[in-house]
């Protein structure tokens, strides 16, 4: 019996996880969110930028990690547009091009931000690290036009934004190693301020950069989105997802404890 419990069929666990996801979705429970320091650091940094400052947002995620990273993108965009900051969007991955375009358009529409004046979406260019380095000398040398193929020199907002000297903060929303590229190539070489919002699984990897202040802040997965939504007082998808995530975490903790109890009973019997 104990042996069977310890080697429980993975399909049973899958069903339990599915239930832990589906039930809270319908119950619509919510819990108070405590904001972590790394997320607050991003919020404070953006909140203290002068009104004509520019934030560059890199939508470096694909459809797979959309659920975790798009709520973050939306929350930060809301904050920037409400403060009247200028936003430049781009992506280093082809999958991210359409996703970045959609989220920036949606939030601009909601907040009344104007394309070409309050924000510019540059889309995707191949080359990854070469793109980062190229923008150090001139953004136009890498992105000669925006995502809708409008030449940058015809976009009023870009008249005053030529390279990293005119960008106050880079926020990398990432599901892979791109935050390390920004740190290595733009923070080290151009002294550019970098913040990151990453998938939950990657968070611990970036803590060393946070402590060395190579990152001004860090948003951890869906929780980061929920925390940011709390800071700007606009609960959306991140906050909604927290109840589901809470139940799944509780389930996993319960499973681990249960598995260990069974393990200890068996060990005692064996002894």
């Amino acid at each position: 019996m104990l042996e069977r419990l310890m080697n429980i069929d993975r399909r049973i666990i899958f069903i339990l996880v599915a239930l832990a996801v589906i039930i809270p979705t319908f119950l619509k429970v919510s819990f108070p969110i405590t904001v972590s320091e790394p997320t607050r650091q991003i919020y404070t940094h953006i909140d203290e930028l002068p009104p004509d400052a520019t934030v560059l947002m890199a939508f470096n995620y694909g459809p797979s990690s959309l659920a975790e990273l798009e709520p973050m993108a939306a929350a930060v965009l809301r904050h920037c547009f409400k403060r009247g900051l200028r936003v430049i969007g781009l992506t280093l991955f082809p999958d991210g091009a359409t996703l970045g375009d959609e989220v920036i358009k949606d939030i601009a529409e909601e907040t009344g931000a104007v394309n070409g004046e309050d924000y510019v979406y540059l889309g995707y260019r191949p080359g990854r690290i070469q793109v980062l380095l190229g923008m150090g000398s001139s953004i136009e040398s890498v992105f000669e036009s925006d995502y809708a193929d409008k030449p940058l020199r015809e976009i009023p907002m870009m008249n005053a934004i030529k390279n990293y000297d005119h960008i106050d903060l880079v926020l990398d929303l990432a599901s892979s190693s791109s935050p390390a590229w920004w740190i290595t190539y733009t923070n080290t070489r151009y002294n550019q301020q970098i913040a990151a919002g990453v998938t939950g699984v990657m968070v611990s990897e970036l803590y060393p950069y946070l402590q060395t202040k190579q990152l001004v802040g860090l948003m951890p997965g869906l929780l980061g989105a929920a925390e940011y939504e709390k800071l700007i007082n606009a609960p959306e998808k991140g906050t909604a997802g927290m109840s589901v995530q809470s139940f799944v975490h509780l389930l996993i903790v319960a499973l681990v404890i249960f598995g260990n109890i069974a393990f200890f009973i068996r060990r005692r019997k064996e002894q």
Binding site: G62, S64, S137, D165, V201, M202
Partner: protein, 388 residues
């Protein structure tokens, strides 16, 4: 006559008053002093740095200086303002990144007040932006790299002289033979996954080195070696490499090019494709070596579910816990790089590992000394490393 004299006196008083008022109302601030322009060190030759001492009225007095503009000219041309918006009061440094190599530029710094009256500083001497061949700011990193390289090269050539070098046991690599043997006994294929890295990732090259050793063994046992690739360049390099390994083992006929194939570049489509293969073909041994992201656990759990013996290795540290949980053996970080030396037992390769240990020793030493000095209040070591 008296009237004439009075008239003259009134005119003089009026002139004095007007002059006094004009001086009083449009009083200019004192200009910034000691303005100095020099070629920015350690750059490609596209910038000049300008420094100055604040105006004495910077932020103080009735006509306080509220900001500065930097002006530039070349040759006999007129000065042009090069700062888009005024630099805030208190600033004493500006880097002109538009000073492309070629002409010599002269600079002046203009102090501005709230009433928008301005005063220019004295001109600087003409300066040219020149590119530097060596980045002196990176000299310590360069020195450390040279020292470490010398230690590695010395160890390699020391090993060449045939001295036996101890190398600790790495269970994951000891299990390679076991995994291949098990596949042979079961008559099931071996699957080798190189991860999502490109050929420029050192982890992918390390993985190729292990694959080369695995390929020699599968050539001997005539076992099918399935390698689904995610990167087009990796695919072509791996095909050539495995073919050479088979030729070197004297089994060119056993080499099957179709077993090394391109699946997709998309991360999760790749995971889905490889999972499908695992379930259909039920390989007896699965190697996962290289750079992995979120797909690591999806692959490892599927491999676990088909009962394969799994040997993983990655330098993607956030994926290590997943591999440790779902695989039989995991090479952690640097073990992946040591694998080629371990498997081939080539003295020169093993020697390089000793060089690596010297590097670690130096870092440990620096860490311990740094911590002790910091605890007793000596901070220059920490400050030095922070600057590096």
């Amino acid at each position: 006559m008296i009237f004439e004299k009075m008239r003259q006196q009134i005119v003089v008083y009026a002139l004095v008053l007007v002059f006094g008022c004009s001086v009083g109302f449009s009083q200019q601030p004192a200009p910034p002093e000691n303005v100095n322009a020099f070629d920015t060190p350690n750059d490609a030759g596209a910038s000049i740095t300008i420094t100055w001492d604040k105006s004495p009225e910077d932020g103080t007095g009735a006509e306080a200086v509220t900001g500065y503009h930097v002006l530039r000219k070349s040759g006999d041309s007129e000065f042009e303002v090069i700062t888009k918006s005024p630099l805030t009061a208190g600033e004493t440094r500006y880097v002109d990144k538009g000073a492309k190599g070629g002409p010599a530029y002269t600079y002046s710094v203009q102090a501005i007040t709230a009433s928008e009256s301005t005063v220019n500083s004295a001109e600087t001497a003409p300066v040219k932006a020149v590119g530097n061949w060596f980045h002196f700011g990176k000299r310590w990193i360069f020195l450390a790299l040279i020292l470490f390289s010398v230690a590695v090269v010395y160890s390699i050539y020391h090993a060449r002289r045939g001295k036996e070098i101890f190398i600790r046991r790495i269970p994951g690599l000891e299990a390679v033979d076991e995994a291949i043997g098990r596949s042979t006994e079961m008559g099931r294929p071996i699957m080798y996954i190189l991860g999502l890295g490109s050929v420029s990732d050192v982890a992918t090259i390390a993985s190729m080195n292990i694959l080369s050793q695995v390929a020699r063994k599968t050539a001997d046992y005539e076992m099918p070696l399935r390698v689904p690739c995610n990167d087009p360049i990796v695919l072509n390099v791996v095909r050539e490499m495995v073919r050479t390994a088979y030729v070197n083992e004297g089994r060119p006929d056993a080499y099957q090019e179709d077993d090394i194939f391109f699946l997709t570049e998309s991360q999760f489509a790749y995971a889905a494709g490889v999972d499908g293969m695992m379930i259909r073909e039920k390989p007896a041994a699965i190697f996962m070596q290289g750079t992995f992201y979120a797909e690591s656990l999806i692959l490892a759990e599927t491999g676990n579910s088909v009962g394969a013996i799994q040997i993983a290795g990655t330098d993607s540290d956030s994926q290590l816990p997943f591999f440790i949980a779902a695989c039989d053996y995991t090479l952690i970080g640097e073990e992946l790089y040591a694998a080629s030396a371990y498997l081939s037992r080539e003295p020169m390769l093993i020697g390089s590992l000793r060089g690596q240990d010297y590097g670690k020793l130096i870092i440990f030493g620096a860490l311990i000394i740094g911590v002790i000095l910091e605890l007793i209040g000596v901070t220059w070591v920490t400050t030095f490393f922070q600057r590096v």
